[in-house]
Symmetry: D2
Subunit: 421 residues, 4 copies
């Protein structure tokens, strides 16, 4: 097939058919994105648009790429994290759908750089990011491409924090929509998606009983709240650590025990970091932990837990005592169990968000790409919110998929809400 | 005492001592406001400031008034809702603390107007509102006072919606801080406060078993979420109605059943309106309800439930079959039970928010008054958010009151959060 | 009316009409007992039966008495706890329904003894107890009446423990059905009823915010579990103390923090005793508690908390700082708040179980009286379980009242469950 | 090693080392059984005892077998369910621990019969069963061995129902302890264990979002309650079907929607059968289900869902569209997804109970074997409860493993509980 001639670098094109089956399974869980894809295929609103993306290469991402592709766009995509790359998905995107992918599972730093280069080999008009990889590349090594970029999307909270810092410093050169700040996306992705997939990662990795376990959740933003809710829902005793007083107070009011990590370290059976910050768990905490403590990171990067210290300082390191579990023996004999080498456990040790979660996030992205193309964004390097009408439209489509009907405002009620005299 | 000579209109000054005891009990639950009062009393930052307020006359409001008064302000206050006025509290404010109050329990419309007039008899510099009563008076009958107003606070979501409409129409003439939008206040007041006090109102009024009862919550904003959480926590089966797709979706993901009111009306044992809108439950719903259905409004005004229709159309109306419960017999024999005449049940049939909830809200107000006086607000008629530093300061003080310690960012962490290169 | 001539000792017969209105309100919440009463009124299965009872004099108890009375029985009833006696209910039973009551609110020990005497003045055939008052009287002062007693019911777990001890010692002289051990009664009464009414008592007495409060529940039997569930449902952080390893383990698995009372005493904001034992909270704990700690007993007697120590040792005792709240000032200035003088708070400071809870318990009692009369019990002094068919019948009637339909076993399924070859 | 010479029939002894690593991992989660094993190894209380077992061949079962073996017993074990057999575990038991195993993954009916024969080739004194396989064999084909059997244990509720029927019919010939009825085992195994592993099975098989999904739980016994709790804890909307009125009422009071399966079938996104009965979901329900409905059995046998009907009547059957998911296309195009072919999903599609759950169950079994050997059981064919002292001892050991301390009764309290005069 002519399709197979698109530029690519994937592990094994022979996995394409298997990947296609999994992509189609995901598609069942993505009714909102599917309805958008059907409209895009009919109307071709993105005809000829050049898109570069750097995202997790999963079956759900594949369905977003299909949607943009069927809308007429030329898409190139690299992997934002080599541990989350699914080789069969990558193969299917290339071999079955004719989309350029540059990604291999567990590739090294040099390969990552080559994939970024390949993704930007065609100057993009729209840039899709999952933690600023392309933003960073464009603002350092590829500044010559910046004038052609009409806008971008950023998927992670961590990335948005960075973008705001860039914008505040006057350094950001094109408008980026903070997809992660969409209220509907928040709900599904940060809160319910990561909540469930973190439980999934813990169960698959350890098969430990969560009921009665003392679990320390580091960070009580949207993601931390979701993780705490699900762990409490599984019967765990949840302790929360935070640096922000308002979030800490919120955790107290839900009924969680809130305390500093130095105190939590002594009593936790499981630790989950979701703070979006670095070194939330480090040497001073490792020294206090109980024998058998399990440590997982469900934040973005692999910097929340100081895994490097464990590798360097443990008297023994038994890799993969179970899949995705490394055991580190401390000098006093205590054993600490690290999931997925400290990388994002819910992606690396489970399957990431369920399709129906990514359905929301990627439906927002697809509609935002269309909106950027139609000139929705003001010029200049700002960080923009998802337009409210996109958020509402996605919520409406999702409710319909759930089969849920809701009330509508009567004219008298709508008038009341905006009246004041 | 000279104190008693302040202008006032209250039911019975003889209740002052009883009121003082209750105000002091509340004060135990308001450690944050108390610490601010102690600072205000020492520093007198509001010396000579003229403040007019229209709020619920409760023991917690009294502690806010004491705080402003001890900070040096001259305060006049009317009741935003005559059903929530506590006559002993009003008496104590006048007789024990020397603050001008114009409020009597269950006063009529004319008395309300007189109380507004009295409250504005001294032209205010700062205006404190609990659903736009004074804003409305100042923008209609008292426009001559507008130039002297430096700013205001609005306590309710309903009021803020109205203020935004005014601001959008260019009609708002002074800056108003939307206290209700403070993240910390949201938590305590809208979510946890109303959630608990609605349960309290249902229990005191009906003593019905909530476990296993089907409860319909109309509206899933912050208040609706809080009410739903607490009712679910009491074992009720919670159904939610909404008009906003994103909120409806949120309710679905929590696990509630979401449906139109026309369907919910047939199956609910209890109905609680918290939508901030009018006629959420009306004749078409009354006709479908089960015998014995209980209807309570926990939104702001008495317009969410069309109580007037019941009064006019019921074949029998038995007032106060239990305290705060009116029974309406329909023509087909079904009996509907309305709490507190459709007025705000958690205020009228319980004691309103616990002191520790209002502690947050009123601490924010006290600090915001100081901030407005210090020129914090930009000129002109905008609706402003509570300054983030006030919100954070209140959260910090409240955590301290809970005895909770939290982590602080290391320099490396703080740097990481704002870095991008 | 001739009715008013029945022997009685109540506070004020003038309260009878008010009492009747409240009894009829309760009756709305007791559909199961009502359906039994209708059958009893038609068939008179208890015609001429002499019943003595010692129970809480509440509107729900009144509906049980009406049911037995309409079934043809001659009933005499005393109050098992003078603090729970509702004078209007007592008056209505006498004046409106013609039933002999000997009970006054807050009567003293001597009056209690006179009421027991009056209740046993007609030798009973059936005895209804709520913590062994009549059992004890019959086995000590009234042993001559024992031969005439055909059987009894005991409503409380505490009472059943005592009865089993008596039976084991060969001292129990008539068969007593442990109503409290009925699975269906357990659910409603011990777990859901006390759970809700304890929340109610805390809210009415203190109006404190339960969300975020640290609440210590002493005892994790059926009642303790119910109290813990409801408090957690209100947002409290629940700590549990226990003496039984299996119950303690259960609490751990639900996710509660389990610890000894000596540790809990230091951190609790609220303490609720539901252990069924004495001195669960005593001097050694009072000395550790925080300023402002609230102590409530929701167990049976007033012995779970050593209130007498507080009365004797506090440097100040301020009674009723709020209704049902006494403040005790310790020598170091800490203030401890005791609800309802350490008596059963959910009865004394709230309204006891909702009618629909007692509906179950009293429907079981009514059917058990009929079963005892029909010779259901073996002779001799045993403690008997509620017959399974009574339990199932009551559950079936209650589900019907909830409007819930369930599946039935097919013949093949019923056969499968009992097959083995 | 001499060890390898024990009689056996396993798939591949080469897997022994891998199996040993996994068995030792499980052992970390089984501190109670481990402490018993250490005592058994020291004291050899089972020296020479002949035990036959038919159980799931998992790493946790392996640790029970090790415990009995180290206590001195000669153990032979077959697999109660070929789908749950872990070949590496079987290999390790034979090759690493010298225990006779007759079990291969996915073996057929004939192989099952051979394994039973081999297990009974040495006449047993103690019999351990997991749904009556050996009981049945002994009472049909091996009646000559019955005189030598001193007693047995049965692990499942389903098995105990059958045993009680046998005992009632006078057919049971030796005493069997109903391990499943141990209160502590109930908690961990039926409620928390199956609850968690059912969530695990659903996530691994489908990766669907449980938040907002409508899940129908068929059966509300201990297992059903646990499954419902965990699914609600994951954000699902839980509907319950039941045939027993008291259990149905319980589910209503928790706040679940209770309804007949014929109604639930139309609205469920997921169905989980835990009724312990046959044909709970059959053709009449399949016809009503939504496109994409997921069906899982977490009861004992593969008879709760009429999978055979699906195989025969679907117009298409796509096996393993994901691991452990079969898709059946109905004649009207709807697709139904069956997990694990209708067999026990939490065993077949997840890893069964966490080790710490089986720790309880198997600690009870180990102590019960010792108790049976010491003549604890009365002679004859009764179904016995686990002795209370064993239950309490296991709970005490488990609390210690959790690091939880509890209170102990004072003498005065112990006296109070047994006093009555």
């Amino acid at each position: 097939m002519a399709r197979r001639s698109v530029p690519h670098d994937v592990a094994d094109l022979g996995l394409a058919e298997q990947g296609r089956a999994r992509i189609e399974w995901s598609d069942r869980g993505m009714p909102v994105l599917r309805s958008i894809r059907e409209r895009f295929a009919a109307d071709r609103p993105l005809d000829g648009l050049k898109i570069s993306a750097c995202m997790h290469i999963t079956t759900e991402t594949a369905n977003l790429m299909r949607t943009l592709h069927e809308g007429g766009a030329h898409v190139r995509i690299a992997a934002s994290n080599p541990l989350s790359t699914q080789d069969d998905t990558a193969a299917a995107l290339v071999g079955e759908y004719g989309i350029s992918v540059f990604a291999r599972y567990r590739s090294d730093r040099a390969a990552y750089q080559r994939s970024i280069d390949a993704t930007l080999a065609v100057p993009p008009e729209i840039v899709l990011d999952d933690a600023c990889d392309l933003v960073t590349a464009l603002h350092t090594d590829y500044t010559d491409l910046l004038p052609g970029v009409r806008g971008g999307c950023e998927e992670t909270t961590t990335g948005v924090v960075r973008l705001r810092a860039m914008a505040a410093a006057g350094a950001l050169r094109y408008p980026v929509v903070a997809v992660t700040d969409s209220p509907t996306k928040h709900l599904f992705d940060n809160r319910y998606g990561t909540g469930q997939s973190t439980v999934d990662a813990l169960l698959r990795s350890t098969n430990m009983l969560l009921a009665g376990a003392t679990v320390v959740v580091a960070g009580f933003g949207h993601v931390g709240r979701g993780v705490a809710e699900r762990l409490a829902g599984m019967g765990a005793r949840v302790l929360v650590t935070e640096v922000d007083p308002a979030r800490a107070l919120d955790a107290v009011l839900v009924g969680y025990t809130v305390l500093p990590m130095a105190d939590a370290a002594r009593v936790g059976d499981v630790f989950v970091t979701v703070s979006g910050n670095r070194d939330v768990i480090g040497p001073s905490h490792f020294k206090l932990m109980k024998d058998g403590a399990v440590i997982a990171n469900a934040g973005h990067f692999d910097i929340e837990v100081d895994a490097a210290w464990l590798v360097e300082n443990a008297v023994a390191h038994r890799a993969r005592v179970r899949p995705n579990v490394d055991e580190f023996v401390m000098s006093d004999g205590r054993r600490l169990m690290l999931l997925a080498e400290g990388r994002v456990a819910n992606l690396a040790a489970a399957e990431g968000h369920p399709a129906s979660v990514m359905d929301i996030s990627f439906a927002v992205q697809a509609l935002t790409v269309e909106w950027l193309l139609n000139g929705g964004a003001p010029a200049g390097g700002g960080v923009l919110e998802v337009p409210a009408e996109i958020d509402r439209e996605v919520a409406r489509l999702k409710l319909a998929a759930f089969g849920v009907e809701i009330d509508t405002l009567t004219d008298a009620q709508a008038a009341y809400l905006t009246s004041w005299d």
